[in-house]
Amino acid sequence: MENGRIRIALTGKPNAGKSSLFNHLTGLNQKIGNFPGVTVDKRMGYCQLDSNTQAEIIDLPGIYSLYPRTLDEKIVTEIFSDQKSELYPDKVVLIADATNLKNCMLLLTQLIDLRIPTVVALNMMDLAAKSGLSIDVKRLSSLLDLPVVMINARKGHGIYELKRLLAEPLSASRKSVFQIDDEIKPVIAIIRNHFTLATDYEAYHFLQQTDNLVFLTQEQRAFIKAVAKEHQFFPHKYQGAETVMRYGFIQELLNKAIVKPSHRDWKRVSHGIDRVLTHKVGGYLIFFGVLFLIFQAIFAWAQIPMDFIDSSFARLSNNLSRQLPEGPFFELISQGIVPGIGGIVIFIPQIAILFACIAILEESGYMARVVFLMDKAMRKFGLNGKSVVPLMSGWACAIPAIMATRTIDNWKERLITIFVTPFMSCSARLPVFTILVALIIPDVKLFGFFNYQGMVLMGLYLLGFLAAILSAWAMKFIIRTKERSFLMMELPTYRMPRWPNVGYTIVEKTKTFVFEAGRVILAISIILWVLASYGPVDEMNDAKRVVRSESSSLQLSEAEIENRVAAYKLEHSYAGKLGKGIEPLIRPLGFDWKIGIALVTSFAAREVFVGTIATIYSIGSTEDQPTIKQRLRSEINPETGGPRYTPAVGMSLLIFYTFAMQCMSTLAIVKRETKGWKWPLLQLAYMTGLAYLSAFIVFHVMS
């Protein structure tokens, strides 16, 4: 504790209401790591407990016990079993689901044995009451020798009491649940003395989970293993007995503290819904219906705010060009920075809608049923039912999606999921898709309801999904492993989504897009504007003279000459030279050097395509800045005299962007998650190769 600030960790089993409580405690005062994900990285926030105590709150991934099954859970074990850790909490809040106390208690009894000062927050008391269950909270508190508070994390009830309790001094429970076997007491004593540990149970974990505890050095591990071997301590030998002993304690506790056992009415409702949602035919139809609705929502509902943002930024840029003095610096602002920011802001509505849909599915408990429905099919393709969530998140952003694969315990299935997730069309592709689809597909409705553009968009998403699933299937045969695969997960009871949580998810994910991807987009669009505005000095200065002499016989108006000068300048700028340089390579796909520039710049982040195209086509234009779409439509291919963006070129580009790996951040995160460059480089080569080949085929078939 320093300067009245304490560190509090929130822990508990998945779906117990940790995120809701965290949001209530911290409000918007949250600090999220660089790459947030629903249950992935630890979230931190601050909370004023009383007038002189501030607390740093850490939201830990949901776990059932200190024996981790996944990478996510390992973090929690590490934090609790390393008292010297920077993240070691002063106090812990264990959120328990009152409707199902039994399997929230296993972790609690372990925390008791570690002598960690803990407050038990009983959540979902309303549901427990509905099912006829009543809990003797006082009795429970005295049996555990720990304070127990009732909260409603959804509505925020009981938060005040919890805060007050946390501000006061809190001591650890004096109970001892796990009685360590006499025969291993000597070896426990050796480890405890050697590492000066506070409890026997901590020493026991050092022995049990030597390899899981990352904070131990190689020498320390070797020491523990040598001691264990000498005393014939075999890890896992006692784990089963420990769990049974703990449940014995828990059952006795619950027999005393629970007044009336539950009857199963509200579960019956859940099973009734399950009968429909996991039905052989209906279940899948509903799932695909839900997906279809999501895409219609993205394409149709986001249109109004997007049009508004689009025209606002065009007007702003135009006004600034007129009002600011002349000079390269002011041009940079009005023509480089402002349109660059506009290019980021415009996609917020779509991203927000997509994340809202995913959050609602997670919150309601439906996502777990999707895992249940898809597990068998996914396994055929070398994946796991749990791969569905990362793959679906991949439609939003591959970065949190790849981090969400940590819930998959099997390494091979996890690796395959990581490898194929970038095929899922992320929100960064949406900007590219939106513009190109709107350009080459007429805005007509089928039966007056289904939007053709929406259907093509869904087709592209489906194509990305197929690429993912077929690649996964191929990898299933390439990668060999002896590790076993598990599913075993809880199917949470259906409930209304907690809307504030949905709101937080939207804010959090949109922020990630704006600040992570947006930074790159803005930086690159500024660099690009510079590249496209400047070139070798003599060539640029010659522009006016060359254009005038070339077109002297055409009797053009002053404005038309200006446009030609601008086009000439762009062609001879550094960006133009770069695009021309790769033209031979991309000509087989139907692309010209302007598209070439966009491909080069969007290698780092694919959404930059739009910013690039916007910059390329708007630079030097004296007329009102038209919207990107209109500008693309009027672009002429000098070879054919027809439009540049024919359906064949548009389709070829769409296919290229569906498959290509153009995201530096994703490659970086894959490197981090797979611990090496091997997989990200393979991914880059494979995806880009597939993109090139497919675009080539599409272009030649269509033209």
Partner: protein, 74 residues
């Protein structure tokens, strides 16, 4: 007669007797599937795998391979 969870029918209840696989058994224990506890077989996913069971008011989804390692009596 000893049988396993994978052989149960929807709606059937039984008592957990033990685990045939140590690794899976340890994980199941932590989820509250203790020998002596009642287990109810609820329904299967389309194509018969995975399955949904209830143990002390929790719904769990297990693969058939996992369910078949749990021996039950009823």
């Amino acid at each position: 007669m000893a049988k396993n969870v994978a052989e149960m029918l929807p709606g059937e209840t039984a008592i957990i007797a033990g685990f045939a696989d140590e690794q899976i058994g340890l994980k199941l224990l932590e989820l509250g599937l203790l020998p002596g506890t009642a287990i109810r077989f609820n329904f299967t996913a389309p194509f018969g795998d995975p399955v949904c069971v209830s143990v002390s008011d929790v719904d769990l989804s297990l693969r058939i391979d996992e369910a078949s390692t749990i021996s039950v009596i009823n």
